[in-house]
């Protein structure tokens, strides 16, 4: 039994919270996507199946698995009735309407608790419901720029703009917090029977998801600076990314930390026939015979300083002479923590993810074959993650959802 089996979630369709609805739906919640006539805008977002502009949106498919769809024009009286009936049948409402809109419609928390006293209402807005910035428009880009992440992301060359990481991470981060909120409130409901209103701010979500950038300022009054592919820090640090022989990049992470680790690195260099190209390799071999070796002795003990410098150069040389994958596996096998910079599809086809069952097939009755999707972000064996259905067609489930609520086809026609 999935964890949220029997929990009904009403999601007022909006691209910024689609991820939140999917996370709950894939864990068994009955997520009902309420779309305006014409459908949620992201039904028209690229990429499209078979690359047909204006065709089926793969973007929409991804974000809306395990949901059912109904259409309601909330401006109309009949739709308000239907919406109230739907909320009365639900446990959670999640929405991202502009502050004030639901109140204008007579469908805000204060109205909804009349039909569902123990409702959990999760509002997710750019700046929260209560701050003086609440009415400002925002997109994923402006949230990441104003909220802190972009300041820390980019290149050593500061004539290149700060970078917004790809993939709607501003919306997705807010969605993570929205689901954590919904689950926290659901647990509390399970103990006390009580519902409540939750005010999630996307801007606040970005602000507390910047690691050191915030607490370097809060504690020391220091400002971090963006650096290529590595942590933004108050000072510029040494580069970590290396272009490998196959044109892909690797990230070098940490040097060895034990005498044996330095020895293994020497042996690897030797195995690849690269020792002659690195005269300093001798310091790695020497380090092997020490009793201990640590960062603290850099600059104090000349041999240690030389060994760490040689380790850096050795990793660089090996990476330049290996594929990114080969570098990753070779280093990890001798306990050196490095990574290959994979594209999403390379990771998806990688043997490790495949072996973990990350590739899942979802049935699309309209197509000849099932479609492969990203799999479970977590594995809960007793209450498993599962995509229960492909994304819904617009209004596909109106009759089966509203019928049991006593709302018939004629009333639905009035409502949409």
């Amino acid at each position: 039994m999935s964890a949220l089996q029997g929990t009904r979630v009403v999601e007022l369709a909006n691209e910024s919270i689609a991820w939140a609805g999917k996370l709950m739906g894939d864990m068994g919640a009955d997520v009902i996507l309420v779309e305006a006539p014409g459908g949620e805008r992201s039904r028209g977002y690229a990429p499209f199946a078979e690359n047909e502009e204006g065709g089926e949106s793969l973007y929409f498919w991804h974000y809306n698995t395990s949901k059912r769809s109904v259409v309601l024009d909330l401006e109309r009286a009949a739709a308000k009735e239907a919406f109230l009936a739907l909320v009365a049948s639900a446990d959670v409402l999640i929405e991202s309407e502009a502050p004030g809109r639901l109140a204008e419609l007579g469908l805000d928390y204060a109205d909804l608790v009349r039909v569902k006293p123990d409702l959990i209402h999760v509002s997710v807005t750019p700046f929260g419901r209560e701050t003086s910035r609440r009415d400002e428009p925002a997109t994923d880009l402006t949230l990441l720029a104003g909220g802190g992440p972009a300041w820390s992301c980019g290149y050593d060359d500061h004539s290149i703009p700060p970078i917004r990481g790809g993939g709607n991470q501003g919306y997705q981060t807010a969605s993570h917090y929205a689901v954590m909120s919904a689950l926290t409130a659901l647990f509390h409901h399970g103990v006390t029977g009580e519902g409540q209103f939750v005010d999630v701010s996307m801007h606040a979500a970005a602000n507390v998801t910047t690691e050191m950038a915030s607490y370097m300022w809060l504690v020391e009054g220091e400002t971090v600076l963006r650096q290529t592919g590595r942590h933004a820090m108050p000072m510029m640090t040494m580069p970590v990314q290396i272009r490998c022989k196959d044109g892909r990049y690797a990230t070098t992470g940490m040097p060895p930390r034990t005498p044996a680790g330095f020895g293994s690195l020497y042996d690897w260099l030797d195995e690849l026939g690269l020792v002659p190209q690195l005269p300093e390799a001798i310091f790695l071999d020497n380090a092997r015979h020490r009793e201990s070796i640590g960062f603290a002795d850099i600059g104090v003990d000349d041999e240690v300083t030389a060994a760490f410098a040689a380790a850096r150069d050795a990793l660089q040389l090996i990476a330049e002479n290996s594929t990114a994958d080969g570098f990753f596996e070779g280093a990890q096998k001798i306990n050196i923590t490095v990574g290959a910079i994979l594209s999403p599809e390379e990771a998806y086809e990688n043997e490790h993810f495949v072996a973990r069952g990350y590739q899942v097939e979802v049935d699309h009755p309209e197509r000849d074959a099932p479609v492969r999707y990203p799999g479970a972000p977590y594995k809960l064996p007793a209450s498993p993650w599962r995509i229960s259905r492909r994304a819904p067609a617009l209004g596909e489930h109106a009759a089966e959802i509203f019928g049991p609520l006593g709302i018939d086809a004629a009333a639905l026609a009035e409502a949409s």
């Binding site: 039994m1 949220l4 028209g44 977002y45 690359n51 793969l58 929260g128 701050t131 925002a138 997109t139 880009l141 720029a145 300041w151 970078i163 917004r164 790809g166 993939g167 991470q169 997705q172 954590m180 909120s181 689950l183 926290t184 647990f187 399970g190 009580e194 409540q196 939750v198 005010d199 999630v200 701010s201 801007h203 606040a204 602000n207 507390v208 690691e211 050191m212 950038a213 915030s214 020391e220 400002t223 971090v224 290529t228 942590h231 933004a232 990314q241 990230t251 992470g253 990574g339 999403p344 599809e345 490790h352 993810f353 990350y358 990203p374 799999g375 972000p377 977590y378 594995k379 007793a382």
Partner: protein, 427 residues
Amino acid sequence: MSQHDPSPTRNGHVAPNGTALGTVRICDFTGQLAGAGATKWLAAFGAEVIRIEDPVNQGMWDVLRNMPPFVDDRRGPDFGGGFNNHNVEKRGITLNLRTDRGKEILTEIIAKSDVVSENYAAGVLAKWGFGWDRLREIREDLIYVSNCGFGHEGPYAAYKTWGPIVQAMSGLTFTSGMPDREPAGWGYSYMDHTGGMYMALAILFALIHKQRTGEGQWVDLSCTDAGLSLNGPAILDWTVNGRPSRREGSPEGNRSSSPPMAPHGIYECAGDDDWVSIACRGDEDWAVLADLIGEPWAKDDRWRTLAGRIASQDELDEKITSWTKTRDKFDIQRSAIGKGVPTAAVQKPEERIEHDPGTTEFGLWPEVEHAKMGRVRVDGLPAHFSKTDWKIEQGGPCVGQHTDEVLSSLLGYDADEIARLHEEGIV
């Protein structure tokens, strides 16, 4: 859930009523951010989180205990600012798990806990004799959540990671950057933050499942699995269309093709490393922005339509830069936002923390009382609950700060026994 009463000594007073998770006790081995971030959320909502740390190395498995930032010149495992940030509202005890007595005490704590959480490398807890089979033996309905870079199964299970490695291996570093340049990646451990969120989600899902069925379980969380799920549309583009993300012009830097928007970018402003982001969602936003710019080029007919703006986006971006780069980023933000166009200065930490009503009015930077550091501001949480809101008042625990308290209030040990455990180096 646990049949425990709120500890009378917790934080010096009775655990507050009206918390969302006040009935939950967590035996917590997490550290750094990927683990500690998860239990920070749970603790702030009232869960009793008991950190178990090693007295021999003074809890330094979590290296953040003695890493910058520092409030003053003092150094040591009780002074790391990052550790304090991630461990507010938790209790900390020391327990030497190399000793049989230490293992017995841990067993007693687990027996009284709903959740055991850890983010060690795969297999570490099992090596100490607390693998899943043993945990389940101690408490049949236990929830155990392990969190590591590659999970406990699969060819890479033995490999080590930290945030930037997880991001590299799950596609996230690749998708952050300018086209035809090396990846820019993430200037912080995005997947430590987000891995912590998935760990919190996993714990909450499992708690709800247990609330409904009485059943516990072991959740094997792999941060790279979670990370790879954050680029879904790119993966479907691959599985359905066979189109890879590794292609010319990809990633797209600060531009947006899904949905298509132009202008959509981060532009240079007057000032020191000052930038502003602008996103025109459609022709209407552009018309408003063009008016605001007020220069003849902005009224160019080619740019009335999205297709036209996209077709000559390089030129459009150059023109916009010529306008932004003599102006103050906040002036641009104010005037464009005033007319309804999504615009935001790229804020430096000081700007968003000290001068932004979007954070300050939200109460986003609470000040905690830390036993040795004194009063320190930390990251708050980005959601407010109408009935059971979070509380962040107590700083992260010093090494062993709550050892005696937990031994006496949770396990009922008397002062003599506790003194003996100290003498024998068990705690």
